[in-house]
Every structure is written in structure tokens, then in C-alpha cells.
Symmetry: C2
Subunit: 444 residues, 2 copies
């Protein structure tokens, strides 16, 4: 297990675990918690922890970004193309380099697109559906198309595959990444398995980073389907929570090439959570053959993406070091909010046996696993008191968490003060719902 | 016929028409023209009139556009949404208003997207192919899907439908718009006709604007297919060539609603040829029901488009008057280039009976019709001497001009001086190829 990870309950132990309480003790606790909850509700809170949305303070850290290009700027890319005009459909060279460095791949493996990596992913699935992958049968002509979905995972990934009628298969996550025994087996056995969604670094929502061994096993997959692709959403490549340490992720592109699978992966990234969520740039990296295949449709879809914004990013950051320095500011702002949540979780829930949570080194989320059958009720209870969390179940395909247990906590948007209030309310709701569940179990 | 349009040959008549020349006269002319051509070739010209690409001077007219937002700017949209963050998937309210005004439709009928209207069109076709239109059978599940294509037309439209295996049917253009008798008949008769590509104002390449009667007939179509849609690419809505006059286009959205066909049209526009070709904003306008249908996919495809650039456009132009004033600068720069071409065409080809050309009031092109079977040869001859034109045939579906006659002239990119050189070379090649064709015909 990654040394930085741990389950909150380990550190606890101050209190008796709820599971060991008698019916009477539970009833007393329930009435106490209910009173506390009514109190909290009376405060008229309005907190939003539903999405991995940057905070205003974080956006302000990029404000001089808008000054990186002005009427006095030279508007030519390195290759002489005027960024204001048509041309360079697949991105200006210096933006390819910058986004390539962000992903740890050469510039020639990169296409820089518009402001949304989700759009590149959607388009890649859509293109495979309408036109196939490098000459394969278009997925719309196949009876069965399946995607493997490490769970819990990113709801928007699942929404895309669901939209295209693609069957989604849950793959359990571990702190080292998806259950690779299962991935290897399903990919090798079933030709209808065409893809897998991955957030390999600081996974959404657990914050796990795939281990070197996991990435190597991914690169060495032997899929039954020629058009099987790994959708490697490297959304949090430089999104460490600490200045002095962060997880390391192996470069899957080169590992795939070494393993004789050069075309098996598409890697995606964006600056949505580096500069502006609404006005970043996004990129896809892959093998030359895959890029050529993507471009066949892309050149019909657009004459080119916003190159002015590409150049703005390059002028602002200059290089990967520029991005890394910038991200230290984010970390300094983000960590205290994670810390506030983790402290409250540790203090209030430690040792109670009613929840486990992750302790990530980066990314945008803390993943919380409540007792089975409690997640929906906890989220509803929070909402009733003025706090919006990501809908329970959202972290699973079809919105169905088989255990109704996982809750995604997104500390990015609130202020640290709000974050503490939010965490207090959250643990209160967890306790109350857990007590109710335990009473139910005793009564059953 | 629209009063502003005319065929170049009308004004001519100085010279004997080539068709009336004897074999000997043609031979003498050929040897003279060949000498002139060799001369021209020796000049080592390098001219590009292949695409409707803005010139550098035109781009410079928007340079202070980049100053419209800077680190000191208020970054909130009218609805309070921070444009730097996620939110307002379908565009900020003030950008909807601006783009709506550009198209002459209410803001509530508008979705503002990224930098490319072509991408919105591609995505709309793709979405219909994968998911159908408002509940209809997805086009990928149908045996036959057809689009009507007014010709000559825009090659990128045709490329999109071809990419999706959609059968394209040529519809002859007239100065009033497409042949509506044919459009009405095919749309009413054939349920597999699902769409028609239109550039209703300053059409690409002829520069024709659909007459009020044509637009009304469009709005009153009675399609056999419920999912038939008009793809109304209003790319040149404010792109007049003169300060004091321009063509008027009826608003098809309201006409469709009046005719009981509220959902029959998607209208597209962008600022690619207003601010920057590489960094404009694009929009689609349609009925509430169509927009809701589009959004079902869009909300999965992206969390939102670049709202910073949307706000930049609003801050820069303020309103439609701001855009109109800006476009006067474009007109003042563009018209002399059109004039240079038209003067040379009139002077050199007038009365020769070897070509006809349009005389648009706006847009980006002049359409030239050579003698049958000559377009490819003329374009090749021009290229040999250093001038790149749009490939002959490109203005027709599948790149096949049945008469091999149409050539698109794009005066936007070259300087006026280059434009004159280009026109001189062009008429020379037209003459030479026409003489060769006439000699062939005499020898046959």
C-alpha cells in the first residue's frame, strides 16, 4: 500500500465503535445526534461540495494569465503560423510541447484541442462508434460493446459510455489501481470489451495513483479486440497537495510501445484545473497511427482549435517548470481545505467503525465509504441541512453503487472556513444515519 | 434576379467571342497566350487564393480585441457566473444576446459554443447519426440517409456528410437561392432526405443571398421525414463588401415558427471572420425543443465552452452595432480586392464567351464558371505558374463538378497588389485553356 494512504479509522479509537453499542446506547446517541442535527439545520448553511470546481481564490492565482497576450504581442507560433488565423489544426508546436511535457510524452505524440478534455474523450468514443478505430468495424454496427469501469470513478466518463449504449462493467479499485487480474482476464477473453476508463493519477474520487506495476500490466495487456483502447485521463498530472512531495506515475505511452502495444492508449489532459476551468486548453496524446486516425475526423470537424489561447498558455507558463511553480500556489491553498476535512473525519469518526476515507497526496477529492446502505441517506441528510454533495451512486456506472456506500467529497470550491463547517455537518450526518442503520439492523 | 448581381460577360463585348474565332485565329491566339503564360511562369509567383482565409491586415483590425479582457477586468457574466470557472454550459447570457442579434434571433434561442461553427455542424450531424433527432431513429440505423446540397457550395459541408456515408443530391443554385421546386419535391417525396446544407447569405462560393420568397418557401417545406432539418449556415451575416449597402436575409427561425415548422431549422454562425479565424466564438440557434435535444448530448460532451472568450467578444463589441462598425473596416479592405479581380475579369474576359462570374455584395468569394470541361485544367495551369486556387470540383459533393466548370476565387487573403497579379494570371489561364478546348472541339 502506498505509504501516504491510510484509512481514517486506523488513527481513531477514542470512542467505542458504534457496532458495539447496545440498542439503548444507540437510541440515546440518536436523540443526541438528532438534536445536534436540528441545530445545524437551523444555521441555514449553503455549501456546495458537489463538483471538483476550482475556488475563486484559485482562479485569481491565474489572473495575470489574461495579460500574457495583448495587442502588442507577437502573434506567430514557432512554425510561423499566425495564431489568429486558420492553420495548425492539431495545435501550435510550442503548445504541443508544453502539453506533452505535462503528460511526459514527446510533442509529436500530441494534438492540442479546445478547452475541454472531456470533449476530446466524448469525441473519441463517438468517432469509434461512428467510424471504428483504425479501420475496425464502427461500434454502432456491433451487437455488444463494453467498457471496463474502475469503481468508484468519474461520473462524466460513465455518462459518455452510457450515452452510446456501451455496457459498463465495474472493476474494483485498490490503492494500487484497478484490480488488474480482473482487467487482464476480461480484456483477453472478451472481444466486445473495447475500452477502459482510467484516471491514473490521483484518481477521481479516491486520489489513488496507479502503481508502476499496475501501469506496466496495463501496457502489457493482450486484448482480444484489436480496437481495445485504454482511455487514460491524466486529469491531475501536476495537481499535488504538497509542495515537497507527490505521487509518481509511469508513462504509459512509452511502456505500451515497449510492450508491443503502441496503439493501445489515448492519454488526455487539460489545463482546466491549472489556469481556468472555463478557458483552459486540452490535449490528447497517442501513437502516430492513432493520431492519424483521429485526425481523419478532426480535420472535418474543425479547421482548427483556439490557437490564441494555446499561445497564451505557452507565453504565461513558458514551460513545465512554470506550470509546476504555479501549481505550488494551488497546493498551498488546497491542502488546508483537505486537512480541515481529514482532521474532522479523524477526530469525529476515527475508531467508530462507521466509515473509511482516503488520504490523497493530490487531486480534487476525498473518497468516503460509509456503512453499506447509508450513502444515499447521508447525502440526503446533508442536503436537507444546506450542503450539496455529489449524488450518492454517481461514482458508479448507471449511478448504481451496489453497496450504497461511496460518497465523493470535493473540497476544492469552498473556503477553508466553509470547509470546516461542511466537514462538521458531514460527520454529524454520517453518525446519525449510521446509528439509524444499526438500530434497523438490531430491530430486524 | 437580385439587382446587384450580374454576369461579367454582360458588360463586355470589346472583343470577338472566342467561339466565333476560326481555327487559324485560335492557333495564333494560342501561341500568343502560351508565350504570355511562359512569361508569367518565369516571374516565380507564389499566390494562395485557395481558402476564405482572412488576411493579416484584417486580423490586425481586431488587435485591441486582446485588450478587452485583462487582469483588471471583472470576470463575471451578467448572471453572476464566473466566466473563468465551470458553469453556463450553453453560453453566458450576454454572448447569447450578441450572437442572437448577429443572426436576428432572440437570445433564448441560442447556444454559444467554442471557436468553430463547423464543429457545431459536424457534431449536429454526428449526434443525429448516433442518437437521432428528437427521438427519431438514429441515422446510423437507417439504410438510406440523404442530404440536399445546393451547388456550387461549401466543400467542408459536403465533406461532413460524406464522412457519415450520407448520400448527397445536387440542387442547382440560382441567384435567388436553391431551386426550390426541386427542394420541395424531394423533401416531400423522400423520407430518407434528412437535411439540406444552406449558406443563405453571400453563399459560398457565388455570393448569392436567398430571396425573401426562397426563405419563405424553405420555412413552409412539408418534409416526409420528421427528422428533416435545414442546416442554415449563416456564416456571412454581417460580411458586406460595401459600407452603404448589403443584402437582406429573412429570419428563417421566425418564419419556420409561423409556418408551423418551429423545429425544422438549425442556424449556425461564428465570429471567425469577424475577430479571429483561429479564436472566435460560434453559436447555434434553433427552437427550444431542438436546443433541449442538442443539450442532451452537449452536457455529456463538455462541462462548458470557453466563456472567457465569449465575454471578451461582448466586452470588445458591446453590441451588434459594434460588430457592424467593425465590419465596415473589413469591407473597406476587402472590396478593393474584389474590385481588382472583377475589373480584370470584366476587362479581359468580357464578351469572350468563355466564362461567367458573380458580382457579390458580400461574403468571401467570387464564383467563376468556365466553359464546360475547363475548370480542372485552368486550376492546374494556375498552380503550375505559382497560384493555388481551391481545387476544381471542390464546390460539389464528392468533389465532382459534373460540368467541370466551377472555380471558386477567394480574394480575402492576398494583398490588393497580389490580387491584381493573381487575377491577371487567372484570366490568362482561362483564355489559354479555353482556346485549347475550342481547338479540341474543332478538331473533333
Amino acid at each position: 500500500m502506498h505509504p501516504a494512504f491510510g484509512l481514517g479509522t486506523r488513527d481513531g479509537g477514542k470512542m467505542k465503535a458504534y457496532g458495539e453499542l447496545s440498542r439503548e446506547e444507540l437510541l440515546a446517541l440518536k436523540s443526541q445526534l438528532t438534536a445536534e442535527y436540528e441545530d445545524a439545520k437551523g444555521k441555514g448553511l449553503s455549501l456546495d461540495m458537489s463538483r471538483g470546481k476550482p475556488s475563486i481564490a484559485q482562479l485569481e492565482m491565474s489572473n495575470d494569465f489574461l495579460d500574457a497576450l495583448n495587442s502588442g504581442s507577437l502573434m506567430k507560433a514557432e512554425d510561423g503560423v499566425d495564431v489568429r488565423n486558420y492553420g495548425d489544426m492539431d495545435g501550435i508546436p510550442e503548445a504541443k510541447k508544453l502539453m506533452g511535457d505535462l503528460m511526459g510524452v514527446p510533442a509529436e505524440n500530441v494534438i492540442v484541442c479546445g478547452n475541454s478534455s472531456l470533449a476530446i474523450m466524448y469525441d473519441t468514443v463517438s468517432r469509434s462508434y461512428t467510424h471504428g478505430v483504425m479501420g475496425s468495424t464502427p461500434w454502432c454496427r456491433l451487437e455488444n460493446v463494453k467498457f471496463l469501469c474502475p469503481v468508484p470513478g468519474y461520473d462524466r466518463h460513465f455518462a459518455v459510455t452510457q450515452h452510446f449504449g456501451i455496457e459498463m462493467i465495474n472493476i474494483p479499485m485498490t490503492p494500487q489501481g484497478p484490480d488488474m487480474d480482473l482487467v487482464e482476464k476480461l480484456v483477453a477473453e472478451d472481444e466486445s470489451v473495447k475500452g477502459i476508463w482510467c484516471v491514473p493519477k490521483y484518481s477521481n474520487p479516491q486520489g489513488y495513483t496507479y502503481s508502476a506495476d499496475t501501469v506496466k500490466r496495463f501496457a502489457a495487456l493482450r486484448p482480444a479486440a484489436k480496437d481495445f483502447r485504454i482511455f487514460w485521463d491524466n486529469a491531475y498530472a501536476v495537481h499535488d497537495l504538497f509542495e515537497d512531495r507527490g505521487d509518481e506515475l509511469e508513462d504509459i505511452l512509452s511502456l505500451c510501445a515497449q510492450a508491443g502495444n503502441p496503439d493501445m492508449v489515448y492519454e488526455f489532459c487539460s489545463t482546466s484545473k491549472i489556469t481556468y476551468a472555463g478557458a483552459g486548453i486540452a490535449a490528447v496524446a497517442s501513437s502516430p497511427a492513432n493520431l492519424a486516425d483521429l485526425k481523419k475526423s478532426m480535420t472535418l470537424q474543425t479547421i482548427g482549435y483556439d490557437k490564441v489561447n494555446q499561445l497564451r498558455h505557452v507565453r504565461y507558463f513558458k514551460n513545465l517548470d512554470g506550470i509546476r511553480n504555479h501549481m505550488k500556489k494551488h497546493a498551498a491553498w488546497m491542502w488546508p481545505k483537505f486537512e480541515a476535512v481529514l482532521k474532522v473525519l479523524d477526530r469525529e469518526l476515527g475508531g467508530l467503525g462507521i466509515g473509511e476515507w482516503t488520504r490523497p497526496n493530490g487531486g480534487y477529492f476525498i473518497s468516503f465509504d460509509a456503512m453499506e446502505g447509508c450513502a444515499k441517506a447521508i447525502v440526503a441528510k446533508c442536503r436537507e441541512a444546506g450542503m450539496v454533495l455529489t449524488g450518492a451512486g454517481a461514482t458508479f456506472p448507471y449511478g448504481k453503487d451496489p453497496k450504497d456506500s461511496n460518497i465523493r467529497i470535493a473540497p476544492s470550491f469552498p473556503t477553508p472556513e466553509d470547509m470546516e463547517k461542511a466537514a462538521d455537518l458531514f460527520v454529524l450526518c454520517v453518525k446519525l444515519i449510521s446509528v439509524e442503520k444499526l438500530l434497523e439492523q438490531k430491530d430486524a
